[in-house]
Symmetry: C2
Subunit: 698 residues, 2 copies
């Protein structure tokens, strides 16, 4: 079954409402472009004032068009656009592209008009992109449902790349730059105000269609967590790389920071979480987005990171090695046997990796050929970069280089070999036909190879682990604020290990607990009205004596009463002193779009000064939790510093996954959770303090 937005991109018949006879006017361009591109479908101009438009029979209304078209363009002023869209819906038009602007992006009146259109669309089966969009096009069929002058910009044949952007102007920018980079795009969609079709759904379509293998997306925000998650999952399952640029900040940053975790969610941590979770490559600049998309269109995604660096300049070899370190590639040394043979071949070359061809290889390109062959046949590398500077273009070496490239490709049809060259713009299409990705900057060549390896790993991994099942008897989130002890009882029911403790209501009870624990204890006042105990002196550490316990109890009650006379006091917690281990922090925030997301970080300065935390959307499994843990800057803290034994990372990962399951099961109920500190010991882990803030019930 084809996707419901297919008529937007692959229509057999189209109408242009507000068609202009002038090929340069907005309402004239789609007709002029599509005719010029030899679009084979029927084109019906709609214009009540003209019989003919650009040589085609025109119709007064979409209702008069002799067939029900697959796609109608709406290019009329805002005040009559609603009627035009209603007419389209009434006649059963399958899809519409609304160029018209002046809706929600404009003012309140526009927003009301947009709501009206939305209602019309919802009541129909028609799929709509826009309003306030630049349209769509299909470079294969010649359907140019756009008023951007993209056809004039098109220089390379349609290829495996699909582009989708919210912004029209920026979509045109991306397309132009991609053409300059010889990226073959088949589909291009702009979604504008996203009244119906959004970026997520276009990604989903690209994930399904055979025409597209590489997805380039740009958005300023997402409206539906479910749609984008489904789309990214489909793309990953179809092994189609998604390169995404998401700008701006989520609403989280602006929220009052009710908890520590919320204050750490920062600008767009939740989008980082989303992209990491689905293996999306998040591009920071247009240059990066295009560069990675270019590399991806060759369709090779190595599963590993072992990289072979060849160069005709020693210095560039060092540059590429530096970049490999930065981008997490493994510049594994050539096997000893290969090094020996290389030394025999080019006596004064560097042969370990990077391998320096030296100028000798330029005089005798067969040396380069043998040199690269050795690495491929005996070296077991996942990818290769060959830096040739302008040797490829120089009249003296051009022909030999071309032959070398042809021979290498013939010998190794499936090897991922990228070439780094300059001054050879005119020769690049030929090299690309031989399936060599070509780059100009040595370090950025490494970045691109790292991106391909990233996708290779993501595709190889496939579906992540399922989230662990919720434990039998898992409690639900509280409806009102609860104190530490109750929070820990709830989290314990969700499978999160908590400190051994009891809540007592008199000194005698406190002494009994201390006796049972058989060791030093910590005593803490507990009251839903006193969330920050330490500020009132409500915690006494390390007591291991009967008289001190009794005295401690009275002291805590007195301090609480002095500090907050009206506080409801639940009693005093008597807890074992936490064992030695690494202090970590777990938490949950509630994102307005994506719902609960789980945070992880190390305690102390790591969260407070460095904001060294990472997030994932709930729920997730233990493998994803391990990837979270591996992402933080302070990761080595868990390996055992200063002779300490390593921390029990499995216990930590299980707790994170359990917390995600609890958060997900209570979606909409939780404002935030802090588990701080969560001590990870050499064996096991324990939540020492916890805070659950329920969502305010309106």
């Amino acid at each position: 079954m084809s996707h419901s937005i297919e008529p937007l991109l692959g229509p057999n018949s189209v109408a242009v409402i507000g068609a202009s006879d002038s090929p340069s006017r907005i309402g004239g361009r789609p007709i002029a472009f599509s005719k010029k591109a030899n679009f084979q479908g029927a084109i019906y101009p709609v214009n009540p004032k003209r019989d003919m438009v650009q040589g085609l029979q025109a119709y007064p209304s979409i209702k008069d068009v002799p067939e029900v078209v697959d796609c109608a363009i709406v290019s009329v002023p805002a005040n009559i656009a609603t009627d035009a869209i209603r007419d389209c819906a009434d006649t059963g038009v399958k899809s519409a592209i609304v160029f018209t602007s002046g809706f929600a992006e404009m003012d309140e009146e526009g927003a009301r008009a947009q709501d009206e259109i939305e209602a019309i669309i919802k009541a129909s089966d028609m799929r709509v992109t826009g309003p306030n969009c630049l349209g769509t096009f299909n470079n294969k069929s010649g359907w140019y449902g756009t008023f951007g002058n993209t056809l004039d910009m098109t220089k390379v044949p349609p290829g495996p790349v699909g582009i989708v952007t919210q912004s029209g102007a920026y979509g045109a920018h991306v397309y132009n730059v991609s053409q300059d980079r010889r990226i073959g795009a088949t589909y291009w969609v702009t979604t504008g105000n996203e009244i119906d079709v959004d970026v997520a759904e276009v990604i989903e379509f690209y994930a399904q269609t055979d025409d597209i293998d590489v997805i380039v997306a740009y958005a300023e925000g997402m409206k539906s967590a479910e749609r984008i998650r489904r789309a990214l999952e489909m793309a990953r399952d179809a092994k189609k790389p998604v390169i995404f640029m998401k700008v701006g900040t989520t609403a989280i940053g602006a929220q009052a920071a009710a908890s520590h975790t919320a204050s750490l969610a920062g600008s767009d941590a939740v989008y980082d979480a989303l992209f990491r979770q689905y293996g999306v490559y998040r591009a920071e600049t247009t240059e990066e987005m295009i560069d990675i998309a270019y590399a991806c269109q060759f369709g090779q995604f190595p599963k590993g990171r072992k990289i072979d660096l060849r160069t005709i300049s020693g210095g560039v070899g060092v540059q590429m090695a530096d970049a490999s370190h930065k981008y997490g590639m493994d510049v594994a040394p050539m096997p000893d046997g290969v090094q020996k043979k290389l030394k025999e071949m080019i006596p004064f070359a560097a042969v370990k990796n990077p391998v320096d061809f030296t100028a000798q290889a330029l005089n005798d390109t067969s040396l380069m050929r043998k040199n690269v062959s050795l690495a491929i046949e005996e070296g077991d590398y996942d990818s290769h970069i060959i830096y040739l500077a302008s040797v490829v273009a120089s009249p003296l070496t051009r022909d030999a280089c071309q032959k070398l490239m042809r021979d290498l490709r013939a010998a190794y049809p499936d090897e991922l070999m990228a070439i780094c060259v300059n001054a050879a713009q005119h020769l690049l299409p030929g090299l690309e036909k031989l399936r060599y990705p070509c780059f100009e900057d040595p370090s950025l060549t490494v970045r691109a190879m790292a991106a391909l390896s990233h996708f290779g790993e993501v595709f190889e991994r496939g579906h992540p682990d399922a989230p662990p099942p919720a434990p039998d008897g898992m409690l639900t989130a509280p409806k009102t604020a609860v104190a530490e002890h109750e929070a820990k009882i709830i989290l314990a029911s969700a499978g999160i290990p908590v400190s051994r403790e009891e809540l007592v209501s008199d000194a005698v009870g406190a002494i009994a607990v201390w006796r049972a624990i058989k060791g030093p204890v910590v005593m803490k006042i507990t009251s839903p009205d006193i969330p920050h105990k330490t500020e009132i002196g409500g915690v006494i550490l390390n007591i291991d004596d009967e008289a001190d316990i009794a005295e401690g109890y009275e002291t805590l009650i007195k301090r609480a009463k002095v500090a907050k006379p009206d506080a409801k006091i639940d009693g005093v917690i008597v807890a074992e002193m936490s064992s030695l281990g690494v202090e970590t922090v777990m938490g949950v925030i509630d994102d307005p779009v994506f719902g609960p997301a789980v945070m992880f970080g190390l305690g102390g300065v790591f969260v407070e000064v460095l904001k060294d935390v990472t997030f994932r959307l709930a729920p997730f499994g233990v493998d994803e939790a391990h990837r979270m843990i591996d992402e933080i800057q302070g990761r080595t803290m868990l390996d055992g510093m200063r002779g300490q034994p390593p921390a029990d990372i499995d216990a930590l990962a299980q707790a994170l996954a359990a917390l995600s399951v609890f958060a997900h099961a209570n979606t909409g109920q939780i404002e935030s959770i802090d588990v701080n500190p969560f001590i990870v010991m050499p064996k096991g882990a324990v939540a020492v303090d916890a805070l659950i803030i329920p969502k305010a019930q309106n």
Copy 2:
């Protein structure tokens, strides 16, 4: 007085030793290129086998050439190159370019030959670049002393950029890419094996010559700290930006890490120190190097970071704002009055900053004109970016845009306005003539503006503070290992505050010191043979009782004797307990090229896990120390965390500067110094422990 390497770049007469009649052979190319470029100086081919070379009278030897040339190219095999160079020196040739390879880069025999040549050069006044280099050229005079086919690559007129690279192949790469970017380079030098002229000296020449305003440099290493420091200082004083790519790692990383500081020096911390100290922009990729050089050639370096972002796409505005945050630019809001006027002009535009023109401005470009004028006249911004996507190139808007740009420049001749456009490659030279730097990527436009502001700040700052004078009676570094107490006495003499303490040799003395301190003390065993006291239990904290002091003394002596029976024991230090403050670490390492460099970092995980440290070459003043402090990730720790008062940053900066003066005064004597911890209190600071490792005396 002209620089001694001037004859290499501006010769009036040249000879080519090993001249070839074939314009494509290495020995033929400089002649062919220079003739083609209409070089006005005399060219003397030297070739004992020919009378004429490329239509010019040839000579059997440089000795037969009828005048003493300014520059001779040596393009003969290695086995006769030494004689050719000797002949040049003997005849008084002013400079030579040695293409010949097969010297130190090749093998030991080559290294010996190179030594011989070096001796010849040293005994003469001749300046030499190479051997194993690609030569030099001067795009203004048409002197192409190179066998790279650079002339064919040259597309843009000579401009203010000077390029110098160690590697020839990479130098050609940089030149080619810079030409594609329309960067006007006048001089280009490759230095190869750097037998005489090195990258530093070429930078010095560029800093002096009026032809060059922007310096692009690439090196794999430096041989003389003095030369590069002098060159970078001259460039800074001449307000000429230096964009430097330095690859690879220093020797430091490979040294046995004798101290904590040395282990933190990492890969090339000392080069980072050098570049930061002189305001050099360190580029990480070729793309970045060229992009920044391009921006610099417009010669505008704003003193501030207030940036005005204009866009025809809201999303791109957000992108640029994100990038501004990343690159430290200040997206200051428009003044209220400006916002009000903008709202009146384009009712539904974003007007705060970034300012969205909206499509309305495209229909009426006078709106854009007024819009930008407002920001310039009433907004007090240091730089402006105008994002226009492909509007500049579109047939519908091209002419209006051109007019807008001309008008704006005419109205504001000195305003730094960068344009971000695409699909307009053919229009860029015209815009650049109007002095608009043009970029394609919105985020990278911000990066370039930030680089210009960086240089603006560096040039405005000018000479940094002088290092503080060495205090009277400053002690010298010890010749042999000394224990903590003596190390602190030495550092105190250098102006570094140390903890109040005494070294005592019996319990009675210890008690006397404790009485004088009037508060809790720490007792530490002190022995040059026990550098790591804590490992043997050699430190007892927080004693404030006469009997405990006496017992502590005996305990420490006993532990030392058990742990290291042969240790020379100086006694026991009795010191005040350090006050509350922020724990920092200072240190010194000795770089084989650059000598002593001072490290600064925060204590604990900041250095141990995060390696969050920064270095500067000694000596430096208090302002440079403040810049070091401001660079570290954990900087906010010093502002007072969790309600603590801020730390005394001035005291810290003074101590760092004092340490740098001490380290410099003892250049060659110190292997490394650790001052760890150095506690910075709300008022004052104090070194609690210190270790000085003298250089091993051979």
